[in-house]
Amino acid sequence: MTQTQTRTLSYNDAIIEGIAEEMRRDPQIFHMSTEAPGPLAAEFGMPRVRQTPIAESALTGMAIGAAGAGYRPIVDWRLVTFCFVAMDQIVNQAAKIHYMFGGQTTFPIVFRTTVGGGARRAAQHSQSPYSMFMQLTGLKLALPSTPADAKGLIKTAIRDNNPVVFFEAGRIGGMTGPVPAGDVAIPFGQADIKRAGADVTIVALAWMVHEALAAAEELAAVGISAEVIDPRTLAPLDIATIRASVLKTGHLALADEAPPNASATADIAARIAEDPEAFAALKAPIARISGLEAPIPYSPALEDHVFPGRQRIVERVRALLGR
């Protein structure tokens, strides 16, 4: 198919478009969630788009059983909050089932879920806990930051023969951007350089990609050339692209809205700090810009204070480079 045309789509619509295209292609794909997405329900209806009782643990297990029986289920947990009731099925079943049964059969499943704050939904409904899933060998993890990436990665997620957790950044669900038409799937494990630069590498996740791009603009104004990298998938993680950038810039900043403890930014920092060449290339300590170590509060100014943003990135990077 040609990829010449692009349209402007929102992040959320791009995901739905990607799912719809895949569902048209493959009748084994079906979608379950406690609230069915309107456009999918309208186009495909039952039994391919199901609205379910509130029982995310059962839905998650059912996806595993249906996948083992030849289907390619998509389960939308909706807010990531809700997936914790299904954590046994995620940790003990989905992540391990292919391995512990010696690879007998495949379990192609996509678990969709919305992460992030900004909507004044307080502690439970504003979490960004993707890093917790990185400890779980056996899951693939996608975390797109643009409509085009969202569509390209959801298609790859659906075609993958493993359980994939597809994290959707709620804060940018309405953000629009160009999305190529046609069958464009983006491979997992390929970071994207969202902006090229020479002085500092800023690796950012999800919403923070946009904050990092805004920060890069401000930094350019003071003569700092920032390269902004979006890993796009946390498992597999494309450390090679980040490493190459650090070899070039000698400075690494990592921006994530989640708290720093045992996080994706810790992971990337450690991988760079343990790589002899990258370590040698570092001209300054690694800088991390993270959420404060607190649950997310409700009151708007408080919430905005707990989450990091472009200003903190600018400050940290300027401090890092001493200018």
Binding site: T34, E35, G38, Q51, T52, P53, I54, A55, S57, A58, T81, F82, V85, A119, R120, R121, A122, A123, Q124, H125, L292, E293, A294, P295, P297, Y298, S299, P300, A301, L302, H305, V306
Partner: protein
């Protein structure tokens, strides 16, 4: 309603009115951008919280779900601090950290609203265990929806409470919908109360829009719990007047005629109660009713004024209360 003096009955009406007006003001505040995030209004279901809580004392504990304002008010929470919490202010119940979905008042035994469907059911069961160990006859009451009755924690908790004869009353507010899923599609039996048999406990169905019927059912369940005979599952059939949340674009799959039917005065719990009190000699005069309305409106206005006068929390407070000392 022999147990209830006319004064108590009027008090119950006043609580129900307070809930209704509070929700109306919360909805208004949400649309005006004074209140943030998510608001789930309890309008239409007032008779359940009020009927149940009328059987409780301060020692007794309740827990709520996402639709929590009514339970707070029925248990005696302070309107000012509730409204301040919705407004995200420092004098709110949670110092502005919780918002609509996390109002609690442990001093009066209100263990909190909760953003997780069925998330509070095991917590209140633990409060019931504590009450049993205390041995002072207190009870614990869990409020949750028809949707929550499909979730695992409902089953695990009631099963344990039944086996251990815990003094817990499980109150399912069957408003017939969980967001856009009708209970008829998610609960395979005609009634949520039918689930009680699987735990060997009474399952009681009650008209959730008749405050006295609710009161009676709850009083029996509470008496049973206090007597050490274990839990009861009460299903209160009711209906929410509002869409699932106050979000402007909240989709609502409920048939319009169905909604309209439940808004009529013979179904709406508040007109029903007013009609009943007025039908009985000396229970409620037109003037008393007007005074009550005015008093309630004044309470709400005072709460809003309190909320607006309260400062937003300081940024530094974001790091307070992460851990207890």
């Amino acid at each position: 309603m022999s147990q209830l003096t006319p004064d108590r009955q009027r008090q119950m009406l006043r609580q129900m009115l307070t809930i209704r007006r509070f929700e109306e003001r919360a909805s208004e505040g949400f649309r005006a951008g004074e209140i943030y995030g998510v608001v789930h209004a309890y309008s239409g279901e007032e008779a359940v919280a009020v009927g149940v809580c009328a059987t409780l004392t301060d020692r007794d504990k309740i827990i709520s779900n996402h639709r929590g304002h009514g339970h707070c008010i029925a248990k005696g929470a302070d309107l000012d601090r509730m409204m301040a919490e919705l407004f995200g202010r420092a004098d709110g119940y949670c110092k502005g950290k919780g918002g609509s979905m996390h109002i609690a008042d442990f001093k009066i035994g209100m263990l909190g609203a909760n953003g997780i469907v069925a998330g509070g059911i095991s917590i209140i069961t633990g409060a019931g265990l504590a009450a049993q160990m205390d041995g002072e006859g207190a009870v614990a009451v869990g409020f949750f929806g028809d949707g929550a009755s499909n979730a695992g924690p409902f089953h695990e908790s009631i099963n344990i409470a039944a086996g251990w004869k815990l003094p817990v009353v499980y109150v399912c507010e069957n408003n017939q919908w969980a967001v856009n899923v009708p209970a008829a599609e998610s609960v395979p039996t005609p009634n949520v109360a039918d689930r009680a048999a699987g735990y060997g406990i009474p399952g009681v169905i009650v008209d959730g829009n008749d405050v006295f019927a609710v009161y009676e059912a709850a009083a029996a369940a509470v008496a049973r719990a206090r007597a050490g005979e274990g839990p009861t599952l009460i299903e209160a059939k009711t209906y929410r007047h509002r869409p699932h949340t106050e979000r402007i674009d909240q989709p609502d799959a409920r048939p319009k005629e169905e909604v309209a039917r439940w808004l009529e005065p013979d179904r709406d719990p508040i007109p029903r109660l007013i009609a009943r009190l007025q039908a009985q000699q000396g229970q409620l005069s037109d003037q008393e009713l007007a005074e009550m309305e005015a008093a309630v409106q004044a309470d709400i206005a005072r709460a809003v004024a309190f909320a607006k006068a309260s400062p937003f929390p300081t940024l530094a407070s974001a790091l307070d209360d992460v851990f207890a000392a």
